[in-house]
Subunit: 207 residues, 2 copies
């Protein structure tokens, strides 16, 4: 029996929907929007600002480099071995988010979507780390259906969103986003179906 | 209901065992050693030679380049649009293997392990393409238990075998071996368990 599931996903793949469905099937807490709300409450920043910043790191800053130099590992923020660089606002928010995500499993079993949660909880026993992806046409159809038409073509919207996620992930984890070996299970939701993906994940979590 | 499953795997991950188990559960044909035997029969080369060559392309030759220049796509060997470069022995064998793997699904539902079968059957409807991997310690334990101790350390044996597979795959497909988006499902067998992986694959194939 697992206690935590993290879900990383390509934009438009249905990973968020899969996460919600898994949480419902298992009766677990679901952290997506709820994570933003918690972070806003604890940090004092607005939900809108946190949400935008969470996928909008446009440069590969020296966060990890500063962290390594300071000898920081495990728990960030305060105390020995903690992060003592001179972080920007994004870095400060990441540290808050890091510490919040580290604490969540202590409150009970949960599903967490995005926010580098796979990396932050990589050493946690009883965790299942999932990556959801799909082919371009499946994702393009899905975002137009869910979020409507925009000035930009669907292909461009997909590319830009995932590019931001890749840069953000690389910046704060040093790892390559979507590399199969970073996860326990990678699913092509376009091929397997969103409902089937949720069923398989819930099944594996209960073993 | 799917009709073909291809399984690519890191050395020592148990992918071959998973494939055999899935084939047994579904009552499907299993092509691993059987593929080598068929190819030996059809080509006249010895099984030993074919087996060694299948994972022993040590250079990135110009096979794909020659193929692209000749306009060859789909079915190789003979006829319009076929491969008419000046292939080496390995290339000739790959063409035979390519054509054999293309024909296999016509004979009935089957599980095929390795040999670039995911790439060769990438456009086939009703196919499920799987990648199996595991962490180093799981794989090291497994190869020592299954294949015994050798002069080389387990870590070195793992690295050398997978390096050959990567080069072979890149050479003949132009794709990156183990990239999650090339498959429908990637499984960490060390984390999920070999039996559970087989169960999930068989379940998804029957949907």
């Amino acid at each position: 029996m697992k206690k935590v599931i993290t879900i990383s996903r390509e934009f438009g793949s249905g990973g968020r929907t899969i996460g919600r469905e898994v949480a419902e099937q298992l009766g677990w807490a679901f952290y997506d929007r709820a994570l933003v709300e918690r972070l806003a409450k604890e940090s004092g920043y607005s939900e809108e600002f946190i949400e935008k910043r969470g996928e909008d790191a446009t440069t590969t800053s020296s966060f990890l480099f500063n962290l390594a130099r300071s000898g920081g590992t495990g728990n960030y923020g305060g105390g020995a071995g903690s992060y003592d660089g001179t972080p920007g606002l994004s870095d400060k928010l990441f540290v808050m988010e890091y510490n919040l995500i580290k604490r969540l499993p202590e409150e009970g079993p949960c599903v967490i979507v995005g926010r580098c949660s796979d990396y932050i909880l990589r050493d946690l026993p009883d965790a299942l780390h999932i990556f959801v992806f799909a082919d371009e046409s499946f994702k393009a159809d899905r975002i137009v259906r869910l979020y409507g038409e925009r000035d930009d073509a669907p292909a461009k919207r997909l590319e830009e969103k995932d590019k931001k996620r890749k840069v953000f992930y690389k910046n704060y984890t040093g790892r390559s986003w979507g590399r199969s070996q970073n996860y326990d299970l990678c699913l092509n939701s376009g091929k397997l179906g969103v409902e089937n993906c949720a069923g398989v994940i819930a099944h594996l979590a209960e073993l």
